[in-house]
Amino acid sequence: MAKQTPLYDKHVVMDAKMVDFGGWDMPLRYGSQIDEHHQVRKDAGMFDVSHMSVVDFTGAQVGEFLRKLFANNVDRLTTQGKALYTCMLNEKGGVIDDLIVYYMDDNWFRVVFNAATHDKDLAWARQQAAAFAVEITEPTGLAMIAVQGPNARAKVCAVFDEPERSIVSGLAPFTAAQVGDWFVSRTGYTGEDGFEIILPGAQAGDLWRSLYGEGVQPIGLGARDTLRLEAGMNLYGTDMDEQTSPLVSGLGWTVAWEPASRNFIGREALEKARAEGVTQKFVGLILEDKGVLRSHQKVIVNGHNDGEITSGGFSPTLGKSIAFARVPKDATGTCKVEIRNKQVTAQIVKLPFVRNGKAVQ
C-alpha cells in the first residue's frame, strides 16, 4: 500500500490521475499535463510535494559534520534561512542524493531530500554522523506545497495576513523564514518564481483551498517534470545517481573546491577524476526533426555512439522535444539521436532551455 500525503483526498476529489512515486500515491495530472505546464509558466500553479523528506540536523558539531557530508560548503550559509543546493556523495564521488540545505542557526540545519531516496539518505547520514555530536531527526506529520509561476508570489502573499505577509513578501530568492508553524522558502523546481511551504499536515487542506481561491491551479508531477526539464534542473535517479559524479551531470558548479583543506566525502575521487581529465559533459539537446527524445536513447557525435540521453521529453514552451544528455567533452553543433532504429538530428545547446517563462535558445 502506497503512502498518502495529507492532501490525498484533495487530489481524489479533483479527479487526479494518481501514480506510485517512490512509494507514495501522488497526482500525475488533474486534466491536461500541457495545460498545467502553461499554467505555471504564465500564471501560478501549486504542487503537493509532501512526499519529500524534511530532516533536521542539530547539535554542537552540526556545521563540522555537514562540511564533511556535502560537496557544497555549508560555510556559505551565514544568515538565518539561507538555502544552498548541494549533492551528498559517496566515497567514489557518486551522487547519493541532491538536496537543499537551510541554515537555521549554528546548531541547526534543515535539509529537504528527495522522496524515493529517503531510506538510503537517512541510513547514510546516520552512519556518517556516528563520530559527531549531531542529532538527526525527522519532523512528522508535515505537508509541503510548492507554489510556482510569475504570479505565485502575489497569490501566496494574498493568503497571509499582516505581519506574516510582510515576512513572506520580503523573502529574497533562495531564502526561507519560519512563519508561525510554517516554514516558507522562496525556492522551487520549475525555473519560475515561487515558494515552497512546509506546514503541519492538518493545515495543508486549508492552505490548498485558500490558494485555489486565489486562482492557483493544482499541478501534477507530470508537469513538474517538463517544467524542470525546460529549466535545466536535474532529476535524481535519471540525470545523476550513485554511478555518476557531479562533474558529468552538469553539477560541477555545486562542488565547493575551496578551501582545499575541507575533506568532504567524495572529494578524493572527484579530484582524481578531474586530474585524469573529465571526458564527458552534460548538455541540452533540441530535436530538429519530428519525434520525442527519451532517456537512454543513444547520442551519436561524429559517428560515434558515445553519448546518452539522461532525460528527455516534449517542451510545451518550445513546442519541440528537448533532452539532457551526457556527450563527449568536445561535442558541439549537432548530433544524431537514435529513436527506434532511426537517426534524427538534434542541436547541442547550453542549459537551460527556458528562463522566467521565455525560451532562451
Binding site: I34, T226, G291, V292, G313
Partner: protein, 130 residues
Amino acid sequence: MSNVPTELKYTKSHEWVAIDGDTATVGITDHAQDLLGDMVFIELPEVGDSVEAGKECAVVESVKAASDVYSPLSGEVVEVNETLADSPETVNSDPYAGGWLYKVKMSNAAEVDAMLDAAAYSGVAAEDAH
C-alpha cells in the same frame, strides 16, 4: 466513464476499427488516450506497408511516454492520417473521428469476428482502470 461507440470493434490493447467493405479504419480508444495523456507525436505506418494483426504498427507518444499501437487486422495500409503530424492532440480530442490513425485493406476479414464488441471492451477498460 470513457466513450465506447457501439458500432465499432475493439482490441484488448485499446485499438478500435470501423469497417467499410474490405477497408478498416484504425484508431486508439477514448480510454487509451485518456490514460496516456496529451499526445505530442504520432508515428504512423506508410501507405503500402503490410501490417499483421497483433503486431506493432504505429507509435503514439504522449508527454508521459511512447506507446506501441498494435494492428487489429492484417492487410495493406492504404491511407494514413497525415493531419496528425501537425496536430497529434486530435487523438485526445476526437479519438473516434478526426484522430483516426490509418486505413487498412483487410487480407483476412475473419479477423474482425475475433475482435471485441463495445460491451466486451467496456469490461476490459473498466478492469484496466482499477
